[in-house]
Symmetry: C2
């Protein structure tokens, strides 16, 4: 896709500083999050110890780091002054010193959207009367368009998901619980080089398929079930996300008709995805197909969400999002149709928009597949 | 362990209301978190859609729920009025209506410690000039003492971790990358009925073992390496957390001496853990053994952390925590010793405090194990 002029840590930090100035903010504060990884190469799961990256519009960059993490953080050579604190110290004392040293006496503080309240409340105290906003104002546009190396990681994560499907369906699934099948898929991804799973695997069998957010449970998969598999993994932090629907035994004409309509909606949406197209037009393309087939009311969610270091990020493919798609934007296309207490069908691929249209990161066959 | 008088959702909500009144607060707001699971049986990974549980000290309970989740939320029969919002609506309009309806015009709002800034900032606007605090003020004491069913889930999660270790070490590990060994451990847990992994598996081989928070990486495990395995899984939401240290081939006398001291520190800490003992005394018991052995400076972290629905929660086993241990408290005991650029040793089990001392949730042999 696009090759950014400067996707180095320093180039990205410069972009954050420009964004801060554009948004009337003096400093951005990030926690353990995908933004931190994007800006420094380092992250970890968020926890009770404050690890903060502060980027001042004026130029300085600090990392407030629990002593326990100092060696790992410095191993990533972050372009920042590392300020350690020990178990028992108050990390907000360090933050207050930074806050008091900012030369601009007015101007907002932007904080990571996913920063915990346990850190935001003391940050608000440390920064006195300043107004607070969210770093998404700056980061969304920065992260939405993927650079070549980011797309390469997403493609690897997609390939692993493709191969895990083949592996998981190579043996019968009838008689497994949903959780067992989820475990089989996850183990197959890890064995093929995934760094981790991207989100809790969804296996929704039979009537559970009618609940779009049903996760894997104790239900045993039975002959005749329609089963939705929605899963993905991470490579170098970047996510894959794929959904396929399979039938355990012959599918009824009704299930076949629904699957056919969802697949046509899926293809129509991908066809519509191109540089300059409003995001909502992609949603409409899928919705029109399902509405024409009589399943409009059964498509109860948006068509997709951006994917990258986060499994849900910008751009959202939803009515009302009039922003135009740009080269390098990566998002899911996942129309579905749900029939309460009966079954559900969903087909999903993550695509990246480029000069020649949208390219899928996953290649597993999309047709309704009959399995045992 | 203890059998709570009322560990039902309603009993727990009553306890939250009492806690709110004790802390001068009028309402608690929870997001998608372990607290939500604790109070309603329902949770999911936090995401960009606001799903909030509001518990008023006055008695009312509301859940603000994205339309997509309504069926699943109501399937858990939460003792709450469910207020749905559709993609495109502003969920904070619902919150403002609740805020405006509270009869007590003063009094704080407590929010989930892990609530995202993206929700906290609009909540602060919705609740006007009220002061904000954290629900941990109320939830910590409520959750720290586990009921019988919670301990049973932790024991199952521990048993799965034990068996996964046997499975993962039944074949040679030399020649695997750290990530491959991590994948083997995770797959073994999932295959044995884990609902998921509890945290990203740590495999720290050779010199990486000297970094207490090193995660699995691309390094290949070599003959002669000392390898730290730190991992766990979830059963019904509850975590296991175990660390074992193994030697690939014969261990040097120095490694054996360090492992012996860490194991004695581990046993001394567990021996000290009892109802009425201050948490810091357990930390000291481990630290004294390692200090006497000459490894005091190499034990660079606290002795442990509480474990339950969260992998890190109260009580923290650290100098300065003078609170007395109570029946049903569950926490890790994980002394270690780290030698920069050489190796590290850590031994960890989660224990639950009861009338007869502390009982371990994991049983895998703690001795230095020689593997291929």
């Amino acid at each position: 896709m696009i090759d950014r002029s400067d996707s180095s840590d320093r180039g990205r930090l410069d972009a954050v500083r420009r964004g801060l100035r554009e948004h009337g903010a003096v400093v951005a504060v990030f926690g353990l999050s995908s933004n931190l990884r994007y800006l420094t190469g380092f992250t970890d799961e968020p926890g009770e110890r404050a690890l903060l990256l502060l980027v001042a519009a004026e130029g300085e960059v600090w990392m407030v780091v629990p002593e326990l993490y100092v060696a790992e953080v410095t191993a990533h050579s972050p372009p920042a002054t590392v300020l350690p604190w020990a178990d028992g110290d108050d990390p907000m004392r360090i933050v207050r010193r930074i806050a008091d040293g900012l030369r601009e006496r007015t101007g907002r503080v932007l904080v990571d959207d996913a920063l915990w309240a346990a850190f935001l409340l003391p940050l608000q105290a440390a920064f006195g009367g300043r107004a607070f906003g969210l770093t998404s104002d700056v980061m969304t546009s920065l992260r939405a368009c993927k650079a070549t190396d980011e797309v390469a990681a997403m493609r690897r994560a997609g390939g692993i998901a493709d191969r895990a499907l083949e592996s998981a369906l190579s043996e019968p699934i009838v008689g497994l619980t949903e959780l067992q099948l989820a475990g089989r898929l996850e183990a197959a991804m890890l064995a093929r080089g995934a760094n981790g799973i991207a989100f809790e695997t969804l296996v929704a069998s039979g009537p559970n398929g009618a609940l779009p957010h049903h996760r894997a449970g104790a239900r045993t998969i039975e002959p005749g079930d329609v089963v939705i598999l929605d899963y993905g993994c991470r490579v170098d932090g970047y996510c894959s996300d794929i959904t396929r629907t399979v039938a355990c035994g012959p599918a009824s004409p009704r299930v076949e008709a629904v699957h056919d309509a969802v697949l046509r909606a899926h293809d129509a949406a991908i066809e519509r995805a191109a540089i300059g197209t409003p995001a909502e037009a992609v949603d409409r393309a899928a919705r029109e197909v399902l509405t024409a087939a009589g399943y409009g009311p059964n498509f109860v969610h948006r068509t997709g969400h951006g994917v990258g270091l986060d499994i849900h990020e910008s751009p959202y493919i939803v009515e009302g999002n009039r922003k135009n798609l740009q080269a390098g934007m990566a998002f899911s296309v996942e129309p579905g149709a749900y029939f309460a207490e009966e079954f559900g069908v969903r087909i999903e691929d993550v695509v990246v928009v480029g000069e020649n249209g949208a390219v899928s990161m996953t290649m597993a066959p999309r047709e309704l597949r009959r399995v045992d």
